[in-house]
Subunit: 169 residues, 2 copies
Amino acid sequence: MASRIRAEDWECPLSTTVEQVGEWWTLLILHDAFDGYTRFDQFQGNLGISSSMLTARLKALVADGLLERRPYQTNPVRYEYVLTDRGRSLRPVLVALAAWGNARLAPEERSMVLVAADTGEEVEPVVVDARTGRRLDDSDAYVFAAGPAASADMLSRYAGRVPLRAQGA
Amino acid sequence: MASRIRAEDWECPLSTTVEQVGEWWTLLILHDAFDGYTRFDQFQGNLGISSSMLTARLKALVADGLLERRPYQTNPVRYEYVLTDRGRSLRPVLVALAAWGNARLAPEERSMVLVAADTGEEVEPVVVDARTGRRLDDSDAYVFAAGPAASADMLSRYAGRVPLRAQGA
DNA sequence: CAGTATCCTGTCCGATACTG
DNA sequence: CAGTATCGGACAGGATACTG
């Protein structure tokens, strides 16, 4: 779970990711972790999740390598949950989700915004192509295409619908 | 559902968005829609979803204003589902999710990548601040802060943990 | 083709109680 | 404080059958 998926099991980046992330609780717990919370009762208090469910979710998060469980005191031993690099790498997903909510769902007077920690300036998160800087927003200028390892049935599904890339390289 | 949320019900951009998006099926159907599919049996064939579940999801999507249901022929009348602007605005979320899967989950030889439709060049999606162009990736340089409409209990939760913005403006 | 209706199973998830 | 164990309801969601 914690690492990469076997090539045979990899079909679609989206559905596989969705399956791996598992449930929405995952994202909400991670959000708390990004806010600096690390402890069981903090998560429980903030999220209003039952202890049994929280236990299950935390176990899954640790098994998936998104959180690390480590003792922060001995006698009695107590554990906290801290983000791994892998966990931190999910931040753009949370940001994109929250940005959409702010733009499309929030009342005019937003209650929660993303700001730069140093300047306090409000941030407007957008998804762009790192190489060209062009926004990926809602244009049809970007499509999902079959890569080198695409299987036959995937190619048949996508054939003619999206530009195929060179198979060799 | 289709429009904004009442101010009293707005607590956290993430949890509210998650609630509104509803289920993972929503994202997967939307992904198909972005690929240009519009019809019931296309969705069903691609996703392997049961017809009853698909009906329910499509209804919710239409009610939420993410898809538009419209007849594409008469006698007998047949319907198709096309993306609305609101639906298209969710694209960055899908892209962020898929990008994470590609980066962290996929086998080395990725099977599906995002490419520019004109050049065929592969795209590397990142989330940045539209104003400064700085990446929001995994840095701690950005935090969620209380906005003008924050309620008292939200402020108490976030007080001291994240920089608060001016209450007045 | 584009659904609707019904049945059925799994499991998400809160409530409650208990533990070192 | 940081969980574990158990119970039970609600519902997600597939299978199947039926319709204009």
